[in-house]
Every structure is written in structure tokens, then in C-alpha cells.
Symmetry: C2
Subunit: 401 residues, 2 copies
């Protein structure tokens, strides 16, 4: 194994993650935005929401039946004339005459004077009179105004990730829009002369560009709006142009490739003179990392090996990106390792793993190019930097993909 | 409590759920569709996907370094002339001359004749020669073609819900599109003269229309494409027109309201003559239910109380809707009830509950109108039809919302 990256100068994973978190922290200050309630599913409330109205808005019937005075149906059977009908949607302001009933539909206003509803099943009815066969207590089948929620009462807390049940409540209290956290806007910028778009014919030495698509999918799954997936060759002028456009369009920019020790490291070449910090992190995959602030926009530069790009995002950026979007941290757990593993000294390793009923199996090799193999993994297995071997049965920390 | 719905004629929850499942079963036969890989996040593969290419496509370098013959660097230090440079993206077809090295970038083709790569860190280089300070074994830092995935090998199984890691693999093997299950297309059709859109001024007797928005959110969360949220008054001609448009646009239609025992049950009035089956299910909330097939399109009719509409969907339709979309069944569990409950005899009751560390608390009353209160619930507590009371400490089944 090559241990040269694991020098004293390489930063630790935790240290670099903190650096990335600090770099992105100013993005928390972006303004909220207003979205229509039907479009707010999965969005995160920027403020608490209180009800503008009482719900129920008015005293109404819980049943199809007859609004009466409980005292007048205390002894049954009793015959009452039907003084009218209140359909749902009608004002229902006509008072109930003494000694009579008014037909009411579910949800219709209870006429003034009535204090309970006898369900239609408990009544024999003819044209204009009913025989009540079973009386009801005061308040039965009457929904009083404000018993679901009072005007001014809390409907949902700030920070709520809006599920269908929240959408239902917001709609029921008549809100057309709600204030939500604006999604982070990101551009993913891949580099490399060798990369070709999907479906293209590959010339010798070329490969398909998966990093932009993969990173965009990961970001979208974490609530980020990916405004563009861009690509540049290894030409510095081209990269500079594409980078400038990205920075103008986004809250943050991710680049992949061009950060290592080769002869054509365009990302490092362009960004270092702009103040970019590039160096080694004691991690595998994903050792070479860089970050820059360009015109106030954080630019995170990941290495270009497909697995390295994806793992770099998961290890260094995912948690803070989710937190900035108001989403909970990804799941981690301590589980039993079911396959022995070896790991290079001095580098924290993230191995591809598959959860099983009784722990986790490491699948696929550690190679940074094994991106198809990574599709079968549902977790990363976190092997600490100082550990060089773990037996089956050891306890390991896993990070859900 | 009113027990009249719990007559011998009321169907059981399980029986009605089976009926709904059978009604929707033909929707499984809809054709797959092709979507662009970058847009396929969260979609479900309609068929297995195999790789059209070997990955790596060609033998390439895992490091920035020098391609050599392992036998020629077995004894170090050794000085070799540098015969050229292979950048990523170049054909790399020039063979390595005997007794020399070629500089290679990560991902660049290994020149024919070379069998390992010495990383740049293990070499002292000047203009046109290198001193190798540490040799490498045959194959070291060489990624052989096809070692990630072979042409023809499985990349993802049919039925895979595509996560970012799958998108990455599909992009890496160069696929531009993938075959996925077409989403179910639904229309949500609310009825009722009393309903007003969000933001409108309410006249006496009117309420806000939340059912369409709530049902649409629930369906979208379950992977359904909601093509329209429509509304009709209680006028039969208007409802017929809106229904016909819904049936023409959708794979399935959900209606809310107009299925009970009142005087203005427009859904039942219009759909019964078309073969609709309407009747009581022994459930609370949500007793009155109906279903119809109109021009081959299943129409599920839920009652109009807001909680009844939502719970009807969760109890009777959600699992089959998700299954038809290729998504797993909603989570259920057996947990300890932390609050005593009462329940009407003869009706299976779904109470709103909140998961706690040690079980579930029932929150909010059983009223079908308590939709704002439902926002605080994250589960439904399933109380069997024959049970009339449960003490704290009882084991109950919960259904995740």
C-alpha cells in the first residue's frame, strides 16, 4: 500500500469536516421563501405557523341527522315537526323553533337554539315530521367551533419537515402559502479531458462522466436544488469560464477532479491563486481535497475518482448540507462487522458495506474506481485511521448511504 | 356512541382493503417508461439493467506516477529514461520501450508492455529521467479492464428504488436512459358546496377545502403523479362533468365527500347508477365507502370529513398504491400503548398516535373533523373491531403515517 499521503501534514477527517462546516456556515443566513401549500411537501418550515382561524370555523353537525334540544328528546319515542333543512355550506342562521327539529347534514351549521344532533339512523321520518326513537345528551354530535384548533394556536413548529399530515392541517386552516427554508442552490462541475457524456461513443482512453450525475443525485436526495451539472476540459481558461458561471448561479459549487499530483490538475491550478487551500486528508477514498471561496461562494473540490467524489461528499459535506436545509443528520449506527478487513495505517477508511440482519458485510474492494460495485452497498463502514485490521465480530460505525 | 353503522351488513376493514386491492390490481399492467438517468432518482427499475461495457473500459492507472515493468524496478534505486507522458483521455497505445518508464496520470491508459505503476511520491524526477526509489509488484496500481463490472453483468435488479449510488453506477456504465415503472396518475376530486379554496373569504357555513390538497400530498409521498386536484359542487351535472374529465386523465380517481346518508350525496347519486358499490365498512373514522369502475378507471370514493378522507387512504389504498409503484409497504410495528383508550364495539378504530421512546401515546380525540390535531400524530393506532377498551401497557399495532 502507498502510505505517503498519510504524512504528518495530512489533516484528519474530523478536522477537515469541521473546516467544510465552517466554510458553509454562512449559507444558513439565506432568506426564507414563500411556497404554495400544495407544493410544500418535504419542504422545511422557516417559522412556526399559527392558525388564522378557529377550526371548526363554526358549530356544526358531526352526523347526517336532526338538530334538536336534548331536553325535548329526553323521553322517547317523541314526535317533532321538521322546521327546515340545513345543508353543508348554508349559513344556518335560522333559529330552531321550540318543540321542533331541523334536518342537518354532516358539517352543516347547528341552528341557534339546538344543542344536540339525533343521527338519521335513530329517527323514523315522514314528509314533515320525525319520530325520535333514541334521545341524545346536550352536545352529542355537535362539533363546537375552535375545538380542533383556536385562531392564533400553533399548527406546526419552525423546522417541521412538511409531511402530508402537515399539508392537510395547513390547508384546513385556509393558508394558501407557507414560509419555508429556501433550498440550497448548487452547481456540480466536473473536469477532465477523458470524460464523455452518457450515450456517446468512447474513443480509446475515454470514459463516461458519472461524477456530476452522481453528485447531483446525492445533493437532490438531501434537499438541494441542483441548478446545473456542468463540465470543463482540463483547459484552465475553459474551467475559469465555467467556474465563474457556476459561482454566479449557485450558493455553493462542487468540483470533481483536478486536485491531485498529476500534470493537468486544472482545479488546483485555477483555484490556488484565488486563495484555494489544497492538501491531503488522511482518508481513503478521497485523500486530496480542496476548498476556495470565490466571490463569496464556497467551492468544494473533490478528487475525480468516482467513488472518491461520492464518498467525499458523504463524509465531509452531507451532514452540514442537510442541516443547512433543515433536514436531520444521516443515520449512523454501531454494528457488528461480519467480514474481516485490512486498512492502511494512518488513513481513516470508508469501506462499502451491506447491512445484514446481524451486522454489516464489507462488499467490493477499496478501489476508488469501483463505482458500479458501490451500487450494491447501502452503508459505509468507518475504519479509524489507527486501525490496520479488524476481525469479524468487531464493532464498527456505519454511515447510511 | 352511535353503533348503527356497525351492523351485520358493514364490511370488515380487511375485506374492504382486499376489494380495493383487487380493484386496482389491473393497474399493474401499465407499460414501463424510459427516463433520463439524471432524472431517475427515486424511480423504480422496470427491468434489470446490465452493463453495456466493461468498467474500467480499459486498463488504467490508479495513481499519478510512472508506468514501468515490475521486473525492471525490482532492484532500487534504479534510473530509467522517461519515454513519454500519458494524460487521462489520451489513447495510450504507444508501447513502453524496454528499460524505460512512461509518466501516467490517474485514470490514463497503461501503455502496452507496462505492468505496474510507481507512484510519483516514490520517484525522484528530472527533465527526462527518473530515479525509482521503491519498486512495485506486477499489477500494483493498475486497474484492469472489467474489474468493476463486466459487459453484460448486472448493474441493478428490477424493482430497485433508485438511490444516488444506483444513479452513479448507471451513469458510469454510460447509460443515458433507464426503463422505470410509469408512475400511477391520479386525480383527486373533492365535492361539497361548503368548500372554499385557500385564501378565500369564508361566508357563514363555509370551510376551507383541505381534502384534495391533503390527499394529493399523501399520494405524491407514495410516488403517485397527481395530475389534477379538482373540485365539484354538490350538483350532479357538474360532478358528472368533472368526473368524466378526471377519468379521461387518470389511471385512478379518488373522490371525497358525498357518500353518506344525507340529502345531497352527489358522489353516490351519480356513481351508483354507473355500477358503483356504496356501503358501510366497520371502521372509524371513515365508515361510508364506495368504489366504481368508470370507463375502465377505478374510482375510490372516500367520506368527506378531513380525517376520514386521509385515514381511508392510509387504511384502504396506501399499501396497494405503493406496491403498484414498486415501493415497499408502509412501516407497521407492535408497540406498547401508553394511554388507555376506549373504542366503539364492532368498529375497528384508527386513533391518532405519537411514537415515544417506549411506545405510543394517543393524542387528539377520535373526531373525524380534528384535522389540525392530526398534524401532531405520526402513527395511527389500530384498535380491533371487537375491542372496546385498552389499558395503558397493552400491545397495539401501529401504522406509520
Amino acid at each position: 500500500m502507498n502510505h505517503r499521503h498519510a504524512t504528518a501534514s495530512a489533516r484528519s477527517v474530523d478536522d477537515y469536516r469541521d473546516t467544510v462546516a465552517a466554510l458553509l456556515a454562512p449559507l444558513a443566513d439565506r432568506p426564507a421563501e414563500s411556497v404554495a401549500v400544495p407544493d410544500a411537501l418535504g419542504r422545511v418550515l422557516a417559522t412556526e405557523v399559527r392558525s388564522p382561524i378557529d377550526l371548526p370555523v363554526f358549530r356544526n353537525s358531526a352526523m347526517d341527522g336532526y338538530a334538536v334540544r336534548a331536553a325535548e328528546v329526553a323521553v322517547t319515542p317523541v314526535t317533532l315537526p321538521v322546521a327546515g333543512v340545513v345543508a353543508a355550506g348554508r349559513p344556518g342562521t335560522t333559529p330552531l323553533p321550540a318543540g321542533s327539529a331541523m334536518k342537518v347534514m354532516t358539517g352543516a351549521p347547528i341552528p341557534p337554539g339546538a344543542d344536540c344532533v339525533v343521527p338519521v339512523e335513530d329517527v323514523r321520518a315522514d314528509q314533515d315530521r320525525i319520530v325520535v326513537e333514541r334521545g341524545r345528551a346536550e352536545g352529542e354530535f355537535v362539533r363546537e367551533a375552535g375545538t380542533d384548533v383556536r385562531a392564533g394556536a400553533l399548527v406546526a413548529r419552525a423546522g417541521t419537515v412538511l409531511a402530508p399530515r402537515h399539508i392537510a392541517a395547513l390547508a384546513a386552516v385556509g393558508l394558501a402559502t407557507v414560509p419555508v427554508l429556501r433550498r440550497l442552490r448548487a452547481v456540480c462541475l466536473t473536469t477532465g479531458d477523458e470524460l464523455r457524456p452518457a450515450g456517446a461513443e468512447l474513443a480509446p482512453g475515454q470514459i463516461y462522466n458519472s461524477n456530476g450525475i452522481a453528485l447531483a443525485a446525492a445533493l437532490r436526495a438531501d434537499g438541494v436544488e441542483v441548478v446545473e451539472v456542468a463540465h470543463s476540459s482540463d483547459d484552465a481558461d475553459e474551467f475559469t469560464l465555467v467556474l465563474r458561471a457556476a459561482v454566479a448561479a449557485a450558493d455553493l459549487v462542487f468540483t470533481s477532479g483536478g486536485v491531485s499530483k498529476g500534470d493537468f490538475e486544472v482545479v488546483k491550478e485555477v483555484l490556488q491563486p484565488l486563495g484555494g487551500v489544497f492538501g491531503a486528508v488522511a482518508v481513503q477514498p478521497g485523500g486530496p481535497q480542496g476548498y476556495t471561496v470565490v466571490d463569496g461562494v464556497p467551492v468544494l473540490s473533490f478528487p475525480g475518482n468516482p467513488v472518491s467524489t461520492t464518498v467525499s461528499y458523504v463524509v465531509f459535506a452531507r451532514e452540514v448540507v442537510r442541516a443547512l436545509g433543515g433536514l436531520p443528520a444521516p443515520d449512523t449506527a454501531e454494528v457488528i462487522l461480519r467480514t474481516p478487513v485490512r486498512s492502511p495505517a494512518g488513513r481513516r477508511q470508508y469501506l462499502r458495506g451491506l447491512r445484514t440482519d446481524d451486522g454489516v458485510e464489507v462488499i467490493s474492494g477499496p478501489g476508488s474506481h469501483l463505482i458500479a460495485g458501490m451500487a450494491w452497498a447501502d452503508v459505509l463502514v468507518d475504519v479509524p485511521a489507527e486501525v490496520t485490521a479488524l476481525p469479524a465480530g468487531a464493532t464498527v460505525r456505519i454511515l447510511t448511504l
